[in-house]
Symmetry: C2
Subunit: 244 residues, 2 copies
């Protein structure tokens, strides 16, 4: 799966039309000219993390490099995945975010449960953002993982009536007997390190979450989340749908 050494892949807040110029922020300038060692005249690829993908030419190097857009297209994703996750142990949330972003999950939604609450997430939001950006570069994706603030589980499970919803559950149907959706929205729910309460499971069940078994043993929260995302990511990719 890993490919050759990564050519440059930038994340820019805005992508102007072809011929437009962008002065890069310092971190992207550093990445392009120092990490990737691009020189004036060389090309790079950039996304806005919202479906836009552009080819750029480096026009001016320096602490704030300038690039010019050569080509640009815009796509929407043929499908999306949300992961609703209870709090894992320690700082395992960092890994969860990185791996979900690599696997192409759309939205990471931390949920507060009776037996586990996300604490001190404030300090982590910035770190998670950095990890999501690094994973976007690694996987050369058009879409940046969105990280939501923690919400109570009841609120989180209520908002997905149009989606296919699954609850990671050792008693569920084995993952390989279930087909991940190739289109539309998929939602995976994973309990916190100490598990969901019977009431919370009932809540998820009433909201249409179907139990899916991801292994024959108990999995840690972050492992279950990544295994569910892997199951979802393993469906044939429809590829991006280009805007007309």
């Amino acid at each position: 799966m890993p490919a050759d050494a990564a050519p440059s892949f930038l994340l820019l807040a805005e992508l102007p039309g072809v011929g437009g110029r962008v002065t890069l922020p310092e971190d992207e300038s550093h990445y392009l000219t120092r990490v990737c060692r691009a020189r004036a005249g060389e090309r790079a690829t950039a996304t806005d993390g919202r479906g836009g993908l552009a080819t750029l030419r480096l026009v001016e190097t320096g602490r704030r490099a300038v690039v010019e857009i050569e080509t640009c297209d815009r796509a929407r994703a043929p499908r999306s995945a949300w992961v609703l996750a209870g709090a894992p142990e320690g700082n395992r949330g960092d890994w969860m975010v990185e791996k979900l972003a690599e696997l192409g999950v759309t939205t990471f939604a931390p949920i507060d449960c009776e037996r586990g609450r996300w604490e001190r997430v404030g300090g982590r939001a910035e770190r998670w953002q950095r990890l999501a950006v690094a994973a976007l570069r690694q996987s050369r994706r058009r879409f940046l993982l969105e990280v939501l603030p923690p919400r109570p589980i009841a609120e989180a499970v209520a908002g997905h009536t149009e989606a296919g919803c699954w609850l990671a559950d050792a008693e569920g149907a084995p993952a390989s007997t279930l087909q991940p959706p190739s289109a539309g929205q998929a939602v995976g729910l994973v309990g916190p390190a100490s598990g969901l309460t019977p009431g919370e499971r009932e809540l998820a069940s009433r909201a249409g979450f179907r139990p899916i078994s991801l292994a024959d043993g108990r999995l840690r929260t972050e492992t279950a989340a990544i295994a569910w995302a892997g199951w979802w990511a393993g469906a044939p990719a429809g590829g991006p749908v280009f805007a007309s």
Copy 2:
């Protein structure tokens, strides 16, 4: 997937027959009487990591606790999975070992490739062993992940003629279109952080490794390994086969 707070689960080098007594090593004594706070007369579960599973009664507490075997059975695994993995970046091997053990992989086989060699593994072997034991407890498994020393890729891919073999490859068939085996040996091969060379891919192909695509973007080595293991782990579990 995560369950209630873990009751005690010991790993013992040997399990004697019913009625036999075992003086626990210091670390298992500490785990049982301090971490799990078991008291004399209380029960615990133990495995030898090779298919044996026993119920024990705590007979004597202390720095070296003594337990007595109450029940014991022995099983063999209905299927097995090997992961042949090139070196990931930094210390990402630690996570790979922990997650593969949780997902029930049988053997972790580091492979040395042209573009990536496992270095300083010597110092990590002990740490990996600890992580594998912790994951065995977490998942309450009968089988402990075996960690092999690094071998050249040519040697590693040659030894699996009876097995179903897959190569993590973005160009392969989507994982959800392939059925993981419910019996026998499965082998997943993942290249190092900088990827396999064309020659190494050809080598794997000639050895019968079929390409499997685990996501629609490039995955890091450890992510591909965990996604493959998740694909394998998602097959219906046959359950342990008990010795007569």
